[in-house]
């Protein structure tokens, strides 16, 4: 975290952040759950759930590969559980 110079703008930002922090965790968790659902939709074909939009979602792979890596680590799997995806 970089210490920044004091200014009124910075003070207002600090105050805003102070009041937003209490719910930051829950909101981040809710957003992460939504992302996880999206991840499941994109990878559904590989999990055996037919996905008619498979060829289109294929294009999204490069964008979500990092999220997939975070997801399997979060789920307690050290290595990627899908053979087709070697993120680590």
């Amino acid at each position: 975290m970089v210490e920044r110079k004091f200014s009124i703008k910075r003070l207002v930002e600090l105050y805003d952040e102070m009041l937003s922090v209490p719910h930051r965790t829950e909101i981040a968790r809710e957003l992460r759950d939504e992302d996880d659902l999206f991840l499941l939709l994109v990878y559904s074909d590989m999990l055996g759930i037919p996905n008619p939009a498979f060829y289109y979602t294929l294009e999204l792979y490069p964008y979500i590969i990092e999220k997939f890596h975070d997801w399997h680590l979060r789920m307690g799997m050290e290595k990627s559980p899908l053979d087709g995806i070697r993120c680590c």
């Binding site: 975290m1 207002v12 600090l14 105050y15 805003d16 952040e17 102070m18 009041l19 937003s20 922090v21 209490p22 719910h23 930051r24 965790t25 829950e26 909101i27 981040a28 968790r29 809710e30 992460r32 979060r74």
Partner: protein
């Protein structure tokens, strides 16, 4: 004597405590290390573990611990005169609360951000965890039931505040929705919402149509209504049902829709409230009319004073906040002094101004002693006197009296409502946790857990034998609030002492307040459980209080024995004691 002198004396003590004592504790006792990698960095995940600026974290910590409790306790405890209450708030904050809030934060940071409940489990054993869960469940149940009554009571006493409080709900939903969609900041919309609320409060103070006075809708105080209730009881019933439906919805909705924007607006109110009180104090320069000590008190201050003022002097609930969320977000270990110790000082400053508002409110000492004639009377009158006292300070700033009391009651209702829906949410989480621990699947579901939380709180609230009339059933258990809260603080101080001793450091700064606090709390508990509630003494037996009190007492003594053996080096040594 002027009330300003009390404020000044308090501020000097707080300043010295923070400047010197907390520095000593930080450097010599907790030995904070700026290079230590805190859990926020060790396990940074963008959700629970996030390194956060120390000012931001202090603000979060302070707004989480400051609520209606540091106002209610001191407003009652001035029954024994202003000096005992003032001394306990000042010395308690400097030597007990500061060390406790700061210590639980450091202890948790040194143990991967784990909460005091988990640490007590590791250190003392499973029964410590069960006691923690049991006490927390009981605390939140009491808070739900009592705060529902407090809000209903304020709505009935100050009908002009109702519109202002209810207007906040659609405003909060609108803010939540627009901010979530547009990803903007809440600052300006929430300030506009606050201005709208206060404008509504001012308008409602003068326009009777905008005052939602249920008692008069039901035909005035003595009128009879369906179910054989009089108009006042019926008004309580209607408000409590509305509140329970509201908390059910509020605690099951995603937080960004209602809770976050509402809490955001209410946090401004904390700032407004504190500014209003301290500025009013400076401008009006009121005289202290309450006696220094109450020499004719029928109820002894010892040891009751120490459990009457919990939040504001020391409170176990703060340890749950310190170790539950703040420890996971601490950027540098050295920030713990500012966040933990100064957080306790902020709470002390709120309790201090509550004392001043009450002891300067009455025109003469006689008026004070008439209202504060007994401990029971004081318990019933405390919050009302604070509202009137605070309104009197606000009138010094040029505010008309009726507007001032409406705005102060809006602020208090907002605090109480924030506490109410956070505690219903917390109760829902604990019920779900118990469900997963004991493998009772149905109660792990959100709506089932919330229904249990809301229905049990409503049932307790509406027990017909409520000591303050219909709807005040929460007060049946309320005498346990202070003791169980202080017991949590005592156990947390004990964990800190054990940790310090294992590090080979001077553990007296945590150990001495622990001995004091546990002695006072257990003394008060034994007194209440054995002589007041069991029916052995002159007082009538109260089986509800006796059962819950006895369970807590037995657990507490059991834990104390285990902890003493741990402290003397014979007990469980599982805890990670990385220095």
């Amino acid at each position: 004597m002027s009330g300003i002198w009390l404020a000044l004396a308090g501020m000097i003590v707080f300043f010295l405590g923070y400047r010197y004592y907390s520095k000593f504790v930080a450097e010599k006792i907790y030995k904070l290390d700026a290079s230590y990698k805190t859990p926020a960095h060790q396990m940074e995940d963008g959700v629970d573990f996030v390194p956060t600026n120390k000012f931001v974290l202090w603000g979060h910590h302070f707004t989480s611990v400051a609520g209606a409790a540091p106002i209610v306790g001191p407003a009652i405890a001035v029954y024994w005169g202003w000096l005992p209450a003032l001394l306990w708030v000042l010395l308690g904050t400097v030597f007990a609360a500061g060390v406790h809030d700061f210590g639980t934060l450091v202890l948790s940071v040194r143990n991967k951000g784990q909460s005091v409940g988990t640490l007590a489990h590791k250190l003392i054993g499973q029964r410590a965890k069960i006691l923690f869960l049991f006490i927390i469940l009981l605390l939140v149940l009491m808070v739900n039931a009592v705060f529902a009554w407090v809000i209903a009571n304020l709505f009935i006493s100050y009908p002009a505040s109702v519109v202002s409080v209810f207007i906040q709900i659609p405003l909060a939903i609108w803010i939540g929705y627009t901010v979530y969609k547009r990803k903007g900041t809440m600052l300006l919309p929430s300030l506009a919402a606050l201005a709208t609320m206060y404008a509504a409060a001012v308008l409602a103070s003068y326009v009777p149509v905008l005052q939602i006075d249920l008692v008069s809708y039901f035909g005035g105080e003595g009128a009879s209504t369906p179910f054989g209730l009089n108009a006042t009881s019926m008004a309580f019933l209607v408000w409590i049902v509305i509140l329970m439906v509201y908390v059910y919805i509020a605690s099951t909705l995603p937080v960004w829709k209602l809770l976050q924007p509402r809490d955001y607006i209410n946090s401004h109110q904390l700032v407004v409230g504190l500014l209003l009180l301290y500025a009013g104090l400076l401008v009006t320069n009121p005289e202290v009319t309450a006696p220094v000590t109450n020499t004719t008190a029928e109820t002894s201050w010892f040891p009751l004073l120490f459990i009457t003022i919990a939040c504001g002097a020391i409170s176990g609930f703060h340890g749950l906040v310190s170790s539950g969320t703040s420890s996971k977000q601490l950027n540098k270990e050295t920030d713990a002094r500012f966040v933990g110790y100064f957080g306790a000082v902020g709470e002390g400053a709120l309790a201090l101004v509550a004392i001043i508002a009450v002891v300067t409110f009455f025109p003469t000492t006689g008026d004070f002693t008439n209202t504060y004639s007994s401990f029971t009377e004081s318990s019933a009158a405390g919050l009302g006197v604070f509202i009137e006292g605070a309104a009197q300070l606000a009138t010094g700033l040029g505010m008309p009296a009726q507007v001032a009391s409406t705005i102060v009651s809006v602020i208090i209702v907002s605090f109480a409502a924030t506490t109410l829906d956070s505690s219903v949410r917390l109760m829902r989480y604990i019920i779900a946790e118990l469900g997963s621990e004991y493998n009772i699947k149905p109660i792990t579901k959100m709506h089932v857990a919330t229904t249990i939380a809301v229905v049990s709180s409503a049932a307790l609230t509406l027990i017909p034998e409520g000591p303050r009339g219909f709807g005040s059933g929460g007060y049946l258990l309320w005498p346990l609030f202070g003791t169980s809260n202080q017991l949590l603080a005592g156990i947390s101080l004990m964990l800190i002492s054990i940790w310090l001793k294992r590090q080979g450091r001077n553990f007296l700064p945590a150990f001495l307040p622990m001995v004091f606090l546990l002695t006072m709390t257990l003394w008060a508990m034994i007194n209440q459980v054995v002589f007041e509630w069991s029916g052995v003494g002159e007082a009538e037996a109260s089986w509800l209080l006796f059962t819950f009190g006895a369970i807590i007492l037995v657990f507490a003594i059991w834990i104390l024995i285990t902890a003493i053996s741990t402290l003397s080096g014979k007990g469980n040594k599982d805890m990670d004691m990385s220095a």
